[in-house]
């Protein structure tokens, strides 16, 4: 290890690196156009040393983007001929295989120069609400999904390449918004670079190299120390992911080998690529495997290149978790988000206090709506949502979060004032939380109505959907029950969650999000907690007696003595059943 930094200076410099990225992050929140960025925080800022090794990322980074960038930026940087880079260069790309796995995630990357020497790179990925193409999950290849921007220079030596911006403008539905957001990306990188240079000046450093070595080595050592505490062994599991009714369900298989201070996650045995947009690139697969392991082993230490070093990933080429160009990838979160769940499930017997049961927000749900208002002006909006969180050994699951990704909802009043849509309700779904000693979080119902009569729109409203859990619910852990299924209907008839749905005036769309899985045997849930759930309407009296084995009197109040004896006999029956099996 380097002797250059005493432990005090090192901590000071390390904090400074993180505050630099957070400052860039704030710049985005204040300058971005799209509500998906500002309200929903679907973006990630980070920077690297000159070898492309990640040093710091924004505190509120989206795990899928940040994990994928950590790999992607490094391999882009390794291909640069550094002598050809110059101050003021800014690159742009949305290559799904190079970075975050679908075309909407656009990366802006800039070298950082200090005293004319290359010292590092700053990068940010934003989820742009539109990137052209056909907005649906059932596209057959990436060519249908929108504009593909290979790695090109947006600025060369500080001079804007207008042609590149024009090329983007003419390929998207809302050019002003996209260009505004690209400007915001450039501004965020600029803020980051200026602050990195200032840090180097303040501490009279010529480069980030020694600091990077020190931080990365210490982070890696901490992650390794934590892994060592877990007994060596191979832990396996798999998850099944639903497909269109006519196609067989998918499997993600995981064999996790813990050996000393290293972990190898082998996804061999997972299904082959699919003929719709759910394919996941290697980087994105890696991101959610990493999310799971980091959250279990070393959640407090800030992420950088060192956190990932002890983790090896094997994902078979051409499988749905390591797809080839030109597979369709727009809806990669519909499969990619399950990678965290499969890791938790495999390791749950060994580390039951550090995992969650399956979540209704896995995968995240995304709705894209677009059309023309009553005077013919085009409008377009993207909203994201989660579902009930899985319960853990110690806590009930929270209601409605996106997990393992992250993001916020768009307020109903913002949606109604910026689009012609009318929202009839947004409310919790009673009984959707999986029963357990700790209950899963509840799912949520949202109902949209397309205006009719006087305020009817010109033409139909197009709706694209990315979601899941319509057939297979989020499962519980350690005896906990599954959460409720998701539902999607148009005018009370089941809709097709894969295609583009055209809505007519007066149509009513109902979207129910799945609830989280429970943790532990529901018969062990404290009676007071069941009583509180009943009073709040989180569960019905039917489920209270059926799932939780409580006895209610004629007023609907829990009869404690009766419940205890009922639960005793049910446990006996459960035991007998297990022995029989």
């Amino acid at each position: 290890m380097s002797e250059r930094f005493d432990p005090i200076t090192l901590e000071i410099l390390w904090r400074r690196l993180i505050s630099i990225v957070d400052e860039a992050d704030v710049t985005v929140a204040r300058t971005a156009f799209s509500s998906l960025l500002r309200d929903a925080h679907d973006y990630t800022c980070m920077f690297t040393d000159r070898q492309g090794r990640e040093l710091a990322q924004g505190t509120l980074a989206t795990p899928g983007q940040s994990g994928a960038m950590a790999l992607g930026i490094k391999s882009i940087v390794e291909k640069f001929v550094t002598s050809e880079l110059q101050p003021g260069d800014v690159f742009i790309t949305n290559d799904p295989w190079a970075l975050a796995g679908h075309l909407n995630d656009v990366c802006v990357l800039s070298p950082i120069f200090h005293h004319e020497q290359l010292v590092g790179f700053t990068a940010c990925v934003f989820h742009h609400s539109d990137i052209g193409g056909r907005v649906a999950s059932d596209n057959r290849d990436v060519f249908e999904e929108g504009l593909f921007i290979p790695l090109v220079k947006l600025y060369a030596g500080g001079k804007l390449n207008e042609e590149v911006l024009d090329m983007i403008r003419w390929n998207v539905r809302t050019p002003d918004e996209i260009v505004g957001d690209i400007r915001s990306q450039t501004a965020a990188n600029h803020v980051c670079a200026i602050q990195v240079c200032k840090l180097l000046s303040d501490y009279k450093l010529d480069s980030l190299d020694d600091l990077a070595d020190e931080i990365i080595e210490r982070t890696e050592a901490s992650m390794r120390a934590s892994i060592t505490e877990l007994a060596d062994g191979i832990y396996t599991s798999s998850v099944e992911i639903e497909q269109r009714p006519e196609e067989p369900n998918l499997t993600i298989a995981a064999s996790i080998e813990v050996s000393g201070d290293e972990i190898t996650v082998d996804l061999s045995g997972s299904s082959a690529e699919v003929r719709w947009g759910g394919n996941v690139v290697y980087n994105f697969t890696y991101a959610y495997v990493f999310m799971a392991l980091k959250s279990m082993f070393d959640p407090e230490v800030p992420n950088n290149h060192g956190s990932a070093a002890p983790i090896r990933l094997i994902a078979p080429e051409g499988s749905v978790v390591n797809c080839h160009f030109p597979a369709a990838v727009a809806a990669r979160m519909q499969i990619g988000h399950f990678l965290t769940e499969v890791v938790y499930r495999a390791l749950s017997p060994a580390l039951p206090d550090r995992v969650l049961a399956a979540s209704g927000g896995t995968p995240a749900t995304m709705n894209v709506f677009y059309g023309k208002d009553h005077v013919g002006v085009p409008w377009h909006t993207v909203i994201i949502r989660g579902g009930g969180m899985g319960a853990s050994q110690g806590e009930d699951g929270g209601h409605c979060f996106i997990f393992p990704a992250n993001g916020a909802n768009t307020p109903v009043e913002i949606l109604e004032s910026e689009t012609p849509l009318h929202i009839e309700c947004r409310q919790l779904l009673p009984d959707s939380g999986g029963a357990g000693k700790q209950r899963g979080g509840l799912g949520r119902r949202v109902v949209f109505r397309v205006p009719e009569g006087e305020s009817a729109l010109s033409g139909p409203v197009n709706m694209g959907l990315q979601s899941g859990r319509f057939q297979l619910p989020p499962e519980g852990l350690n005896g906990g029950c599954s959460g409720g299924l998701a539902h999607f209907s148009v005018n009370n008839e089941a809709g097709d969650p894969y295609g583009l749905t055209q809505l007519q005036p007066g149509d009513v769309v109902t979207m129910d999000a799945a609830g989280g899985g429970g943790f532990g045997n529901p018969l062990d849930r404290e009676l007071e907690l069941v009583a509180a759930d009943l009073e709040r309407g989180y569960i019905s009296s039917t489920r209270a007696s059926e799932d939780y084995g409580v006895v209610l009197d004629s007023e609907g109040i829990i009869d404690a003595a009766g419940s205890i004896s009922e639960r005793r006999s049910r446990r006996k029956a459960q035991k007998a059943k297990r022995r029989g099996a």
Partner: protein
């Protein structure tokens, strides 16, 4: 003015967590008298009355001479943190009962899967729905079903609620249904406290508006009770002046308005320091001043630009994870833009998992306190480091009323930090001191950058017990070369009570593209807001001179967040859309580096502050004298110098004996009873005519 014109005394009373501070101002002489007594949490008015009785012993008859009493209190925030508010019911639009519980759904710590979230103040069983619907443009889609509304109200009363909140969807655009519910509540349950979202804060975004309205309802009964009790007890002891309450936004208001809008007094306490800072900024004509108040547990700071502190529209209270943004209840009320971080004298130093030194945000608090308090604390803190470095004097802490144990401080740092890290005691102590400065500097820089300020040109004003000890170190880290320490810096925020204007903020959402704006209509809305503001100010007969300052929140069409644009006086029709556009571009460019004049704008909210003129305060000043005052120089002691990397002799000055015109060079230490200023080698200190210490760091930083 009134007959009270003859009475010339004003009293500021700040009820804090540990102490209730009293500051008495004699307006004729400008003299300040300070008094402290222990806070009485069960009924804070006990301490207020007791403290006033104690002052009365020293200044007989002062109560009857009081013209005004200005009161700041942590009552509201504590009631929320401790969940001791009223049993509150919420009435909302059909389909939206769970808005309060769903919140914005973001996980504030993405990799912490066990992160906790705060429970809503109104549980689900006390949230009821009514059939009604207003659209985003304010038209009525479904009229309010009156009979059902009555049932909803009666249902809540059956469940024994003590307070009712009403927040309907899109009511910011048309409050008619909320107003109907208001009349129904008054009819069915006369006397029950209620809060209507349109009255509390009529702004777009249903979760934030609901959360704010509910919070207001939750603390309304206890605030009302407290203020009524306080008023009558003050009357009993002979107080006949006017009672004002400090608002979180930096103004003061009448008891009646505070009782109606208790959510507006949530940050009542810490605001005073900012107001004091604003006053100093104006007094000395400093364009950018960074106020920094470092106490035992936290450091609070605020950037004041041209004598005005920023006011932000949202606030988070009762964070489940302290200092973790996003882990608290979000409310939308105007609050002075204070940044609070876990950095204080009591911040604990320890070795983190990475084998590096960590300081804070955990604090040793008052019990057991730092090692050197000798009350059993074994974890070293910032105060311990400051003592070991020679910055604090073990025999003269708090004016000598508290003896510090330097050996205990050495032992704590040695055992917990120096030995495990393999460094010397002094390196460890300096590390703790320097680390907390760095933590504050990082937060300060982000805060200053967010406001579009420049850390290099700010003047740093230091308050609080620990503020002056760390001021020079912090200033160097952010690049500021000038530090000012006001008199009574240890309780220096107190002056804020006397310089705060009587003011009230109102706002309304009005979403329209600038190209389609009807300026006359906007003028009309501002006029209406002005009337509401005047009512809230509760003017006495004959009081006049209310000014209304207007601003609007605007953004590029399609952008997610807004930029506040203050408007000059005069009709908007005269300013014109082009004028508004120019004002926006100037501010946007200052904040974000560049603007885009061709991208169209839209308005989102209109804001108005109604205020009465600030009372001028004449600080007592003395002639600058060229004489030296040998009695001010107490002697010298060894203290650590970063520059020499060793202990070197520092001159020790007694602030109480320094007089205007005195000046001296660092290395030096200036002691007063509540605080200590550290002056590094090369720095120059001057005492001005008001007794402020000005510390110039240009030479220190030029190295």
């Amino acid at each position: 003015m009134s007959e009270r014109g003859a009475l010339k005394q004003r009293l500021g009373v700040d009820v804090g967590g540990t102490f209730t501070d009293f500051v008495l101002l004699d307006e004729e002489t400008g003299e300040l008298t300070i008094h402290k007594c222990l806070t009485t949490p069960s009924n804070p008015s006990d301490a207020v009355v007791k403290g006033m009785e104690q002052i009365d012993i020293e200044e007989p008859g002062f109560v009857s001479k009081l013209d005004e009493l200005i009161h700041g209190t942590t009552l509201v925030i504590n009631a929320i943190i401790e969940r001791k508010g009223a049993r509150t019911g919420l009435i909302t639009t059909k389909g939206f009962r769970d808005i309060l519980e769903l919140g914005r759904e973001i996980r504030y710590a993405p990799f912490d899967i066990m992160a906790e979230f705060p429970l809503p103040l109104v549980p689900r069983e006390l949230r009821v729905e009514v059939d009604e619907r207003v659209t985003a443009d304010g038209s009525i889609l479904t009229p309010l079903e009156t009979e059902q509304a009555r049932q909803a109200i009666n249902g809540l009363l059956d469940r024994q609620v003590d307070s009712i909140a009403v927040c309907l969807l899109n009511s910011y655009a048309n409050p008619v249904h909320e107003q109907e519910l208001k009349s129904l509540i008054t009819e069915i349950a006369p006397g029950i406290p209620f809060s209507i979202s349109y009255d509390v804060l009529p702004q777009i975004r249903e979760f934030e508006r609901t959360s704010t309205t509910v919070t207001n309802a939750y603390v309304k009964p206890l605030t009302e009770e407290y203020l009524t009790c306080l008023s009558s007890r003050l009357e009993e002891i002979g107080f006949s002046g006017r009672l004002f309450i400090m608002l979180s936004s930096g103004g003061i208001t009448s008891v009646e308005t505070a009782a109606e809008h208790p959510v507006r007094i949530i940050e009542s306490g810490p605001t005073a320091a900012v107001i004091a800072g604003q006053y100093y900024g104006r007094l000395f004509d400093i364009s950018e001043m960074f106020c920094f108040d470092m106490g035992g547990t936290t450091a609070k700071s605020c950037l004041i630009q041209d004598g005005v502190a920023g006011v932000v529209p949202t606030f988070e209270v009762g964070r489940v994870q302290r200092f973790m943004r996003g882990s608290g209840l979000k409310i939308q009320v105007p609050v002075v833009d204070l940044m609070e971080i876990g950095a204080g004298g009591g911040s604990i130093a320890r070795i983190g998992r990475m084998g590096t030194l960590q300081v804070g945000p955990e604090s040793a608090g008052a019990e057991p306190g730092p090692c050197c308090y000798g009350q059993g604390g074994s974890q070293p803190t910032v105060t311990d480091a400051d003592l070991v470095l020679g910055y604090l004097d073990a025999d003269h802490f708090l004016g000598g009323t508290m003896q510090l144990d330097i050996e205990a401080a050495r032992l704590g740092i040695e055992e917990c930090i120096a030995v495990p890290l393999g460094i010397s005691l002094v390196q460890a102590a300096w590390g703790i001191h320097d680390m907390i400065n760095e933590t504050m500097a990082a937060a300060a820089k982000t805060h200053i950058a967010e406001k579009g300020g420049d850390p290099v040109t700010v003047t740093l004003a230091a308050f609080g017990g620990a503020g002056p000890v760390h001021a020079a170190g912090l200033a160097q880290k952010i690049g500021a070369s000038r530090v000012v320490i006001p008199p009574h810096a240890g309780v220096g925020s107190a002056l804020g009570f006397f310089t705060a204007p009587r003011a009230f903020d109102t706002a309304r959402s009005h979403k329209v593209a600038l190209s389609e704006i009807d300026l006359k209509r906007v003028d009309g809305i501002f006029e209406q807001l002005g009337k509401e503001g005047e009512i809230a100010l509760g003017l006495d007969a004959g009081e006049e001179g209310v000014t209304h300052s207007r601003s609007l929140d605007a953004r590029f069409i399609g952008q997610g967040s807004e930029t506040n644009v203050p408007l000059p006086s005069g009709d908007l029709a005269t300013i014109g859309t082009e004028g508004i556009r120019n004002l926006f571009d100037v501010i946007y460019e200052r904040l974000y580096g560049r603007t885009y004049p061709d991208t169209p704008l839209e308005l989102v909210n209109l804001r108005l502050r109604s205020s009465l003129p600030v009372k001028l305060l004449d600080l007592p000043s003395s002639e600058i004298s060229v004489e030296t005052h040998p009695q001010a120089l107490k002697g010298e002691r060894l203290a650590f110098s970063e520059h020499s990397e060793d202990f070197i002799p520092h001159q020790v000055w007694d602030r109480h004996h320094l007089t205007p015109g005195d000046s001296f060079h660092g290395p030096a230490i200036v002691e007063e009873s509540e605080s200590t200023l550290i002056v590094p080698s090369g720095a120059m200190v001057e005492v001005d005519e008001y007794g402020f210490l000005w510390c110039d760091l240009t030479e220190v930083m030029g190295e």
